[in-house]
Symmetry: C2
Subunit: 685 residues, 2 copies
């Protein structure tokens, strides 16, 4: 299909507009990249990009948008094969794989052997089991999955129906899916790939239920990869996203496995049916792993949002609409309504990435304390990880959606890079605890802490309890008015003071917690009745923590750095966004804490002014996030600004347009359907 290549855009070329935006930078984007992403991540990004660019026939993803599901899977298997080859040659390690997959920006079919099968083996195998299962898994001589969810059972894992019954006669477990609803479902890497499944099953010994434990079930032959007897396994079919992954189903019809296959770190069953749990291991360590998984989601979401905001900011700075007569049309990013939708997302992207550095270092401290037997910080860490996973995934998914919407019609094209991407990240809101359920867990922790503090019980000192104690501890009430730093302050003073903004955010979450705690204490409601209220409580808490952690990351920057002014502006925008979007919270402050109508509405005006100020640096700010072109995979976000040329190039590559193969498809459509319609002799009655 032909298209004239000498056509140029009318008036200003998009690439020139983008260059003009870049000249507005008041800071060095490389320096910003180093501060926000860190040198370690920059190094690993560069290594991964070198590998990806070395094998374009394998890793180039520009054709992904045209592929059927089967073709997508095939492409991903090809990538997996190359990745394992490079690993075996020692050219890359497991961290490099993570970064490569992150840049390819699609799940790959062995992801779950890496993300869940191997980690479970690492945690729950004894030494012999490590040799038998972990070692070949690390070598990809077996491929595994983690089979927990059942078609009828999601969050409530206690009701999982799959059983593993010890058969003393043969020294085996019989693993069984007795019902339709007990069929394992959604299991990543299971549908086509896995040779082994780590099956979560209700374990029975001597007719007695001893709990839910993981057991390794070989499911496909290592000779020909065919399902083993009693194993019904397949792919669960097409999904909204994640279609490069073979999520699968598994129904086991009384499958026997050796007793040895029950993972034995937390439970063991002897030849003569004695069940024993090791004394020296605190089961709460497994809690720590859940915290890690959520911590990873929390830190991933900032980088997902970085991709979307890069595309949206670059394109809206180049896309022109309306404007003064005789002038080139105005870039849409100059319109307040576009700034208002995009700049807070840019600010939150910085907040989420900045916060994740602090969160990770907190996580490492906690993990190290746990390994020394000190569990004191686990409870807050658990609540914070639930709350942040919830808040960051919501913010990210709907942030990406807003970015797409801000790209107008072209946002709806796959070539925007924002559609399969949106679909792929959507499950972050659902996995590892649906966000609506997590809110209840966070609120329970907060309410319990508040009641303990009010009753002068001792609580662990941490960021959350410190904020609650400050406003709620009986000892502080006498001089409480001093705490309300925003009192009698102008909106412009408040909106540029990091400490006042943090005070407002912390007081807001504490008042919400205190309201619910009072109702719980007076027995007028239970936590179970409070699931709706818990949503707002959990959000308000997460928003305080995000800004607090982000502020700690900013403190690492020398005051003299020329990165400081714009980063401060972004921080203030995030805080004001969170405070003014739900301004009824501020109206509900009472007594010495109360805010005037004027303070509240003026804060909204300050917020708009800061957005306008940040808009000037928007393109350099997204450049600094340094999302590689390969990951953007977007016409609209192209860093060279050749937006429309790229849209056309990609359109010409659409299968129905292609020379020869596309000609054939169109000819078939014409001969079979369109032609007979056009040429029929019969006309309407």
């Amino acid at each position: 299909m032909k298209f004239s290549t000498d056509l140029i855009p009318s008036k200003v070329h998009t690439s020139e507009t983008l260059s003009q935006e870049r000249r507005k930078a008041s800071f060095d984007t490389k320096e910003m990249d180093k501060f926000i992403n860190g040198q370690k991540r920059i190094d690993s990004r560069e290594k991964a990009l070198k590998i990806i660019r070395q094998f374009p026939d394998i890793f180039d993803q520009t054709d992904m948008y045209y592929l059927s599901r089967t073709e997508k899977l095939e492409k991903s298997y090809k990538q997996e094969k190359k990745i394992v080859e490079l690993l075996r040659k020692g050219e890359i390690d497991s961290n490099d794989i993570t970064t490569i997959v992150e840049i390819l920006d699609n799940s790959t079919p062995f992801d779950l052997t890496r993300a869940m099968f191997i980690p479970t083996l690492e945690q729950q195998c004894n030494d012999e089991q490590r040799e038998a299962f972990l070692k070949p898994a690390l070598d990809y001589r077996i491929i595994g999955c983690y089979a927990q969810t059942e078609v009828g059972h999601g969050s409530n894992i206690r009701n999982i129906e799959t059983t593993a019954t010890f058969i003393e006669e043969t020294d085996e477990f019989e693993v069984n899916s007795p019902t339709l609803t007990s069929t394992k479902w959604w299991i990543g890497s299971l549908g086509i790939s896995s040779t082994h499944a780590c099956v979560m099953a209700q374990v029975f010994v001597k007719g007695k239920h001893i709990g839910l434990f993981p057991i390794i079930v070989p499911i496909r032959s290592l000779v020909d990869h065919k399902p083993l007897p009693g194993v019904n396994v397949g792919d669960i079919g097409p999904k909204m996203g994640y279609n490069t992954m073979d999520n699968g189903f598994l129904n086991l019809d009384k499958v026997r496995v050796p007793r040895f296959n029950l993972l034995q770190k937390y439970i063991s069953v002897s030849r003569n049916r004695i069940v024993s749990k090791p004394q020296n291991i605190d089961p709460r360590v497994t809690y720590g792993t859940m915290v890690l998984v959520r911590a990873n989601i929390t830190s991933d979401t900032g980088r997902y949002l970085a991709k979307a905001i890069t595309i949206a900011i670059r394109y809206s700075s180049m896309r022109r609409q309306f404007g003064s007569p005789g002038q080139p049309e105005t870039p849409v990013l100059d319109y307040p309504i576009v700034q208002y939708r995009l700049i807070p997302i840019l600010a939150k992207t910085y907040a989420m990435i900045g916060m994740s550095h602090e969160f990770y270092s907190q996580y490492e401290k906690t993990a190290s304390a746990i390994s020394n037997g000190d569990f004191s910080s686990l409870k807050e860490m658990h609540a914070v990880s639930c709350g942040l996973k919830r808040w960051t995934s919501d913010t990210c998914v709907y942030g990406v959606d807003t970015c797409r919407h801000c790209c107008g019609g072209h946002g709806f094209s796959q070539f925007s890079g924002l559609n399969e991407f949106f679909a792929n990240i959507y499950p972050t809101m659902i996995v590892e605890g649906d966000n609506y359920m997590l809110a209840k867990q966070v609120a329970s922790y907060l309410v319990k802490s508040a009641i303990d503090i009010k009753l002068l019980k001792s609580v662990e000192s941490n960021d959350t309890t410190n904020a609650i104690s400050r406003f709620l501890a009986p000892s502080s009430s006498a001089s409480r008015s001093g705490f309300f730093s925003w009192r009698n302050k102008s909106a412009s003073e408040i909106s540029t003071s990091r400490s006042m903004l943090l005070d407002l955010l912390s007081y807001r979450f504490v008042t919400k917690v205190a309201n619910l705690a009072a109702k719980i204490q007076s027995n007028s409601v239970t936590m179970d009745d409070s699931s709706i209220e818990s949503q707002a409580i959990s959000s308000a808490h997460a928003e305080y923590i995000v800004c607090l952690y982000h502020s700690r990351h900013l403190e690492k920057l020398p005051a003299s750095s020329n990165l400081a002014p714009i980063l401060t502006t972004l921080f203030n925008i995030t805080a004001l966004d969170l405070l003014t979007k739900n301004s009824s919270d501020l109206y509900e402050f009472t007594g010495d804490a109360s805010m005037s109508h004027k303070q509240i509405t003026s804060l909204q005006s300050e917020y708009i002014s800061l957005i306008k100020a940040a808009r000037v640096q928007a393109v350099p700010l997204v450049d600094s996030l340094a999302v590689p072109e390969e990951k953007l995979n977007s016409s609209l976000g192209k860093s060279d600004g050749f937006v429309y040329e790229d849209l056309i190039k990609r359109a010409l590559n659409e299968p129905v347009n292609r020379d020869i193969t596309g000609d054939k498809i169109r000819a078939d459509f014409y001969n079979n359907y369109i032609g007979p319609v056009l040429k029929s002799n019969s006309t309407r009655l």
Copy 2:
């Protein structure tokens, strides 16, 4: 691939749970269907279903989720061919086609010849042109599209670059796309199907620009369907949704067409270059057509939401999680947080469909007045149609998203029926004026009306100006306090009074309008500066209109009808949802209008109680919406309640699972990629 067919769910079968829900109905679902949808729509639904069920090999859509884009297009062409055959046989008419396509729930590739090409010809052809273009188009002997949008030009149609220059020597127009950015883009039915394009072009005669007008350009040969000389045309490639439609691009390299092809109702050019505009036609009538297109979106969105809420309510009434020990798990719809997310969407679905009846009858009155030369009601109708299109499409798209999220993990499967669907309806927010831009048009009308009313200028009397006058006209200020019907009323009185709820909704929008009008009058801001404020103003206005029109539809119901109690509850839920979700608006009421903290928070409690009450009838209420099984195309929403059986049946039909063809695909994956990984002799260094 095998799967045991004798497995049954543990405990209560989902179908039995659904039957139990149906037994709770306090009304007859057929009677409700008749009231909410109307007999006309029921008849046309039944006729369309009969056709669809008569040709399952053509119209069955269950395989749609597995198809590649090319396969999707082929399937849709097959459907189009059958539709045209049935039309030519006189078995269906154009209304039936609309209903059939609505139930198939996918765009089809001739949709735009029906939706825009033919209507434009109907409006803008003279008699000879009707004969030449309209007649063959109605017979599908030519297929056309409406080519307005360009790759670099969306909303601002004045800057469209395509030109049509009159060439006196040959009595032709030369139609040209001079630049890259002038390439027509997104044009439905263009990429593969159309023989003709109705091209919007800047028309030049004697070197003088005379305006933007439609001109018919033949683009593909009627002999072999090949592009004609100078025509570069193709498909724009894969999109988020709408992939059964061949949206296309068109670049014209100085293509000559006869002078006759310029549509001549509003403009004509004579042989000797005289440009004339007919005197007897008011160009404002074209405005009326835009109103109709928006009116259609507004009424479609209610039915889109009906599909999503049917799936979500049915599935959440059957899906069980957690609960009391020893009992079957609790249906998730019994949890307040699930009710809180779904029941207001159910209520708004009823509001949107109910409102659309009133809106349509208003539209018909206006259209009939216009055809008699009376344009007095056009301005409000335009503003209301913009505001309703904006509000209903936002509410619908994010309502569908919430429905999907409430289905948990299975919501992410294509078999939920909610994912391609979400993608297909997403553009309702962008087309016919992006929602963010429409807000400005609505707000401009409202502010201008408010200023006129304050200045005692005469304004047309309509629902909008009446509400503004009531609170804002100088004459009413003396006794204004009487208007604030909610004053000193308890939350339970307010939340069950249709008139007080409408008063609150109308006062809320009027105060917002008045605030901005005062700033405009004092010249402290311009409308251009107020695009952010305009969003909230437009929403508040639309929410009042939705509830007002919905209340008028409810008034048609006899008070004695046993449909009345539940419909009243749904009305109150919608109104309270709109009032309490942004309760800062209520806190901002001042003087005699002000509401106490207690009133506001108690309204929120009343809202929750009403939601709980409506939950009992939720399944009968979605049954009454009568969305056909074919349109749902969903395992989760199956009306017989066989949810998990259907999920498994559909999964087994996934291409990689199928016997023979799927076996081949898996064998290829194994032989080429998985096997070499598993069996390699090299291991990690």
